[in-house]
Symmetry: C2
Subunit: 160 residues, 2 copies
C-alpha cells in the first residue's frame, strides 16, 4: 500500500507500543490504513497474521491477541480521524495520539489459525477528545470478533 500507516506517523517517543509501535522490535507492529475516506462513511483497515504460538486452544487464535489488535487498530484509527477532522497532515506536530478508555470485545466465532486476519474500523462517535471506533475482525471472510474502542485524547501528563 502506498499510504503511510497511521502508527508509523506517531512521534518516535510515542512509538514503543507492544501492539503497534514501529520502535518495538518485539511487538506486533500492527499497521492501520484508510480503507474508505468518504465523509461520514470513513473506514480503516489493518491486516495481521498471528504466529503459531498465539494459540488459544490448538487450531484457534488466542483471544487476548485479538483484543490487542482491536485496541491498537482503534486508537490508530482515532488518531488518523483526529488529524482528518483538524485538516492536518497525519503525523504533524503537536501529535494527536489517543489512549484506550474502554475496550469491549465480543467473540462471535472461533478465529482459525494460519489465516491472515482483516480488521475494518468505522467511527460511531467523533468528538475532539473522544472518538469511538467499531471494529470487525474477520478470517477467510467470516466475521469472528467485533470490538468497540472508546479512544480518549492522550492527556498531556502521559506525554514526555
Amino acid at each position: 500500500m502506498s499510504q503511510r500507516a497511521f502508527q508509523d506517523a506517531y512521534p518516535d517517543d510515542l512509538s514503543h507500543c507492544f501492539g503497534c509501535g514501529k520502535n518495538n522490535p518485539q511487538g506486533h507492529q500492527l499497521k492501520s490504513y484508510w480503507h474508505q475516506q468518504e465523509h461520514e462513511s470513513e473506514t480503516t483497515i489493518a491486516h495481521f497474521t498471528p504466529e503459531p504460538y498465539h494459540t488459544a486452544i490448538p487450531g484457534f487464535v488466542y483471544g487476548g491477541l485479538l483484543a490487542s489488535l482491536i485496541d491498537c487498530h482503534g486508537t490508530g484509527s482515532a488518531s488518523a480521524m483526529a488529524y482528518k477532522m483538524d485538516h492536518r497532515e497525519l503525523g504533524s506536530v503537536p501529535a494527536l495520539r489517543f489512549v484506550t478508555g474502554a475496550l469491549n470485545v465480543s467473540f462471535k466465532a472461533p478465529t482459525p489459525m494460519g489465516v491472515e486476519l482483516r480488521l475494518v474500523g468505522r467511527f460511531s462517535q467523533v468528538k475532539e477528545r473522544k472518538i469511538v471506533v467499531e471494529i470487525e475482525l474477520s478470517a477467510n471472510g467470516v466475521l469472528c470478533v467485533t470490538g468497540q474502542v472508546i479512544a480518549i485524547k492522550m492527556p498531556a501528563t502521559m506525554q514526555s
Copy 2:
C-alpha cells in the same frame, strides 16, 4: 503458594493458550488461584509482572496485555468455579474448560511499568454454561483497570 494453579489443571491438550497455557513456553503463563473460598463471596487472585517490552507509551503497560491477563484470569476462574459447583476436584475429567464470549475492559488509570500487578476476580453470575467474572487489576495498591469476562462453557466442537 501450595494451591495448584487453575490453569495447571487444564488437560495437556487444552494447555497451549498464549496467555496461560503451561505448554506454551513463549506465552505469559498466567497462574490463577483461589483467594477466598467462602460460599457466595468467592474471589480468585493472580499476579503478573510485565516485561520491559510490554510498553504502551514509555513508563506504562500496554493495554492489550492487561486485557489478555483479565481474559485468562476470567476463564481460569470460571473453570475453577465450575468444578467447585460440581463438587469435583480441579482438573478431573471430563474437563470443565471455558472460553470467552465477551471481554469488557475499562482503563481507569495508566498502569505503571516495573511493578507486580494483582488481579482479583469475583463472580457476578454462575450458571452451568455461563459464568461472569468481574476483575480488578491494581498496581501498588492503585486500581488501574476493571474488566468483565463472560465465560462460556467450551463447546464440544472445540475440543479435540
